[in-house]
């Protein structure tokens, strides 16, 4: 019931982004480590697939958030919460399924650039997350 307070903002989506960028960083770091490994094919997590899945989850979440009315006595029941959680779980599962080999040799520049982009994305998501948490804390403690 109290966990509902995190569902009203963009926090769930940001959480998925941070999860994804962290997982992708691991994969890209593996590519750099194997830069001189003979026969190694670079791996990656598909950003496009993740974003599509996240887009679906965001729409589903927004739709689910619109359905239960605050006047409805069932709002704090178990069912609507499960409905709201499900899309995010789907995003997390897809992270495991989108690993692919791009059949190209490892290019150091390309990999480092991808890592930089991933890091930037991670930083943006974390900074906004931080701001959301600060705002929630301000609301809870009633202090600016």
């Amino acid at each position: 019931m109290l966990s509902n307070m995190f569902d009203s903002s963009s926090l769930p989506a940001l959480e998925q982004v941070v999860n994804f960028t962290q997982a992708r960083h691991g994969v890209l770091a593996g590519n750099i480590a194997n830069i001189d490994t003979p026969g190694y094919k670079s791996r990656d997590l598909s950003v496009e697939k993740f974003q599509t899945q996240l887009q679906e989850a965001v729409s589903a979440h927004r739709h689910a958030a619109e359905l239960p009315s605050y006047a409805n006595s069932d709002y704090y029941g178990a069912e609507p919460m499960d409905v709201a959680k499900e899309p995010w779980d789907k995003v997390r599962q897809v992270t495991d399924d989108i690993l692919f080999h791009d059949e190209h040799n490892v290019s150091l520049e390309k990999q480092v650039t991808e890592i930089t982009k991933n890091q930037t994305q991670h930083n943006v998501a974390l900074t906004i997350m931080n701001a959301q948490f600060r705002l929630l804390r301000a609301a809870v403690t009633e202090r600016v």
Binding site: E109, K110, V112, T113, T116, T120, Q121, N123, V124, T127
Partner: protein, 136 residues
């Protein structure tokens, strides 16, 4: 949003390929035979760049890609060395027509261009971090 990194990255790859060609030219500055061992001086090669319309930024920026690798058409450098096993009937050996100074200047240019692209990536990262300061 992050395509500026792709543009700089394409520049890095292009300049490194150019540097590869230059080091190949310098390594083969005295090569008189081809890969199958026949007498044929090494022909210097040049990497030709082309703008890549698959890598674009919202501001109209475009990336670069390797169009092709061209072989030099200049005639070989004939040196009179009668005792050389690869000398022709008149005693001349055909050496690749590679000017070391030109190649070095080219290598320096490629290195500077590479550094410039790294610098742009640094600036892009800096801008991105500064944007985050809006929320800090």
């Amino acid at each position: 949003m992050y395509s500026v990194f792709d543009v700089s990255s394409s520049g890095l790859i292009a300049q490194r390929t150019r540097l590869d060609a230059i080091s190949s030219n310098l390594a083969n500055i005295s090569t008189t035979r081809n890969e199958s061992g026949q007498v044929e001086p090494y022909t210097p090669r040049f990497v030709i760049f082309q703008t890549d319309d698959e890598i674009t930024t919202s501001g109209g920026g475009q990336g670069v890609k390797i169009d092709r690798v061209e072989y030099s058409t200049v005639l070989p450098n004939m040196k009179y060395e009668p005792g050389h096993p690869d000398a022709d009937a008149e005693g001349y050996v055909a050496y690749p027509n590679i000017d070391m100074t030109t190649e070095f200047v080219d290598a320096l240019g490629a290195t500077r261009a590479y550094e410039a692209n790294v610098g742009v990536i640094e600036v892009s990262k800096d801008i991105s971090n500064r944007t985050l300061q809006i929320l800090a």
